[in-house]
């Protein structure tokens, strides 16, 4: 058939070399093979990066999710008025005299009494070791509550408080009977008692909101440590960074891209901006320490100083991204605007900026993401300090109060010895990732809104 068809075409040179379209030539095969190989490399590269990402996420989540749950003890406590308000006049000043030690004694006694009442044997466990179930955080909270509401005295209330880190670890599987045998802080008999208390519902694990709201806690009570201060600190810093870096970065980029003459000075500035983007972040920390704290005398550990340092750090990145976005706007749009008699400024603000906005947003969010995860410069300006008090509200000068930041909290927990802190460190990474994802989602939504206009 093929022969018949080709012989019917007299006009074409009857070249025997005429190749059929149905068979591939050797060169075509080679080209196709090269293309197939390239696609395979691409797929392999994506697979490798995806699996690394998956492994990373899996380790973070398997280590960190447990930080969101916490073992707690629930038992009734009769608030003995004689012990907690010895003068009996319900005066706050008088009641303050009873320290947490007094409350600890009360709680210990009441827990023992409750166990006895429920018929739970404390065999082989000393009273002191039963008391060790109660976190040091619980008496402090109870004291605050009583000072707040003195009318509770004399009543029987249900107290719910953290169990200590080791008991929590046992329930989460971090502490086993084998490790307990080697651990002076916990005994096998205590673990048996924990089992019995769990059966009776006195000991239970619950979702731990405190992990998100509590401030950091000392080494003695890892179970009470939370990210509250770090979250506020990071939120303050991100807000301040956006407020400072966007106008600065966009204004600088617009000026350099649209207005500045091209000469040796602008070339110099350009080279310097590129170089600044490559400066290690810790250098910005040193700069911040020297300028903002030592020279300008801003308070140490404050989100304001942190934000200033992070702004300096992200500024070059944002300028570079914004300039690229501005440059990507087709010059014909500028010609069109100038052609109808728009001024340069009108051209930029009416036409160039709206078109560059998605690119600017992408650059900004990349810059903010790196600022959010930045630890080194914050260490230098003292944000790694142990901060037990929440900073004030943003309008009450909270940005000047000491605070920490999420990545710094991850770092400082990871460097403490108690395994309960290591777990919280992984939990904090999850929160950091969630923070980041939220920021990215906001950016994507904003970008969509800019893009969808046309």
């Amino acid at each position: 058939m093929t022969d018949a068809t080709s012989s019917q075409v007299p006009a074409a040179a009857p070249s025997p070399a005429r190749s059929s379209l149905l068979t591939q030539s050797a060169l075509m095969k080679k080209r196709n093979a090269a293309e197939a190989r390239f696609k395979a490399y691409g797929v392999a590269a994506i697979c490798v990066s995806l699996s690394v990402l998956a492994i990373m996420l899996w380790t973070i989540f398997s280590d960190g999710v447990s930080a969101f749950k916490q073992a707690s003890l629930t038992f009734p406590v009769t608030l003995d008025a004689d012990a907690l308000d010895p003068k009996g006049n319900r005066e706050r000043a008088e009641m303050m005299r009873v320290t947490t030690i007094g409350y600890t004694k009360l709680l210990n006694a009441q827990l023992l009494a409750h166990l006895e009442a429920r018929g739970i044997s404390t065999e082989g466990v000393s009273d002191k070791d039963v008391a060790a179930f109660i976190s040091r955080d619980t008496p402090a909270r109870l004291r605050d509550m009583v000072l707040e509401q003195p009318e509770l005295l004399g009543q029987t209330i249900t107290v719910e408080g953290f169990a200590t880190g080791r008991i929590d670890g046992y329930i989460k599987g971090r502490v086993t009977r084998d490790t307990a045998a080697l651990d002076t802080n916990i005994s096998v008999a205590q673990l048996d008692l924990a089992d019995r208390m769990q059966d009776e519902g006195i000991l239970d694990t619950k979702f731990n909101w405190g992990f998100l709201t509590n401030p950091d806690a000392s080494d003695q009570r890892p179970e009470a440590a939370g990210l509250g201060v770090a979250l506020i600190g990071s939120a303050y810093m991100m807000a301040l960074v956006v407020i400072m870096v966007l106008p600065l970065g966009v204004a600088a980029s617009i000026y350099l891209e649209e207005f500045a003459p091209r000469n040796r000075w602008t070339d110099l500035i350009e080279v310097n901006i590129s170089n600044l983007a490559a400066v290690p972040s810790i250098v910005y920390g040193i700069l911040g320490l020297a300028i903002f704290i030592n020279f300008a005398k801003f308070p140490q550990s404050s989100p304001l100083v942190g934000a200033l340092v992070l702004t300096l750090m992200t500024l070059p990145t944002i300028i570079i991204a914004t300039r690229a976005a501005i440059r990507a706007v087709p010059p014909s749009i500028r010609d069109a605007a100038l052609g109808v008699g728009a001024s340069k400024m009108q051209t930029v603000f009416h036409h160039v900026l709206p078109l560059a906005a998605p690119g600017i947003l992408t650059g900004t969010i990349l810059g903010l993401a790196s600022a959010l995860g930045e630890t080194a410069p914050l260490l230098l300006i003292g944000m790694v300090a142990f901060v037990a008090n929440y900073p004030a509200g943003p309008l009450d000068g909270g940005v000047l109060d000491p605070a920490t930041a999420l990545p710094v909290q991850v770092y400082s927990w990871a460097s403490r010895s108690d395994p309960a802190f290591i777990e919280r460190s992984a939990g904090a990474i999850i929160v950091l990732l969630a923070f980041l994802v939220t920021m990215n989602i906001i950016a994507i939504i904003l970008r969509r809104r800019f893009e969808r206009r046309w």
């Binding site: 014909s332 749009i333 100038l338 109808v340 046309w454």
Partner: protein, 265 residues
């Protein structure tokens, strides 16, 4: 030799709108235009013809100082608009461009709605006091550009979503809307089909009544049809300038003749 259909068009007006004397344009060290002297008349269509790269667009861009936006472009000589040197230090090019509108070689609508494209010029120049007036200008400009019928039901849609030819007519409407005194058109019909081309040519003829039109074109027929004056550029020189009928029937320079005949055959 060449049967121009419009040879009877006479130059009715002799007021000079733009006077160029000794214009030299350099891009860096390279000279793109040499010693251009030309008088562009009011209420007249002037066609610039010549081979590609001869400097037609360059000269056109001198007339509204769009060359200012090219960093390495340098213009020497004198260009007077109504007797005022537009390259005078006191002249603000932004103000000049409101008087000398431009339609570019490639259609470049704003990525905004059709309405906003046309309304932008009148808005920034404060030509209207009310929304109704603005609507009026938008409609009449779109009608002038022979686009109204096609877009009147979708003024809110993106100007960039139109076809290439429609985009070019939108750009013409945008230029017309600011009511310029001179309209510069750089190959306005290169993306248009014959019907739209005819409409635009008709528009150009109408526009002549209210202002001076300068059009760059590669189509000899178009130059002959729409213009009263023709300037032939070659290698950066203005070779010949005169009445269109004269240039097309009896060119005095052999280069003009060979270009016209070479292109048309």
């Amino acid at each position: 030799m060449y049967d121009a259909p419009n040879l009877e068009t006479r130059v009715t007006q002799t007021n000079t709108k733009i006077t160029a004397r000794g214009v030299q344009v350099y891009y860096g060290d390279k000279q793109a235009l040499q010693d251009v002297d030309v008088d562009i008349l009011d209420n007249t269509v002037t066609a610039f013809i010549g081979p590609s790269g001869c400097g037609k667009s360059t000269f056109l861009r001198c007339l509204n100082r769009m060359n200012d936006t090219i960093s390495n472009a340098r213009v020497e000589g004198e260009i007077l608009l109504d007797g005022e040197n537009i390259y005078d230090k006191r002249v603000d090019p932004v103000q000049l461009r409101a008087k000398v509108g431009m339609v570019f070689q490639k259609p470049n609508p704003f990525p905004k709605s059709i309405y906003d494209n046309v309304a932008y010029g009148p808005k920034i120049h404060g030509l209207t006091r009310s929304k109704a007036e603005l609507d009026e200008i938008v409609e009449s400009s779109l009608r002038k550009a022979a686009l109204w019928k096609e877009v009147k039901d979708r003024l809110g849609e993106a100007g960039t979503g139109l076809s290439g030819g429609q985009q070019q007519r939108l750009c013409i409407a945008r230029a017309v809307a600011t009511a310029p005194e001179v309209l510069l058109m750089d190959e306005p019909c290169s993306a248009l089909d014959p019907i739209a081309t005819a409409q635009v040519e008709e528009l150009i003829d109408e526009l002549r009544a209210s202002f001076s039109v300068v059009i760059v074109t590669h189509s000899m027929q178009q130059a002959a049809r729409v213009s009263q004056k023709t300037a032939f550029f070659h290698l950066g020189n203005l070779v010949e300038y005169g009445d269109t009928s004269h240039i097309f029937t009896n060119p005095s320079d052999p280069r003009t003749e060979s270009y016209i005949t070479g292109r048309i055959g």
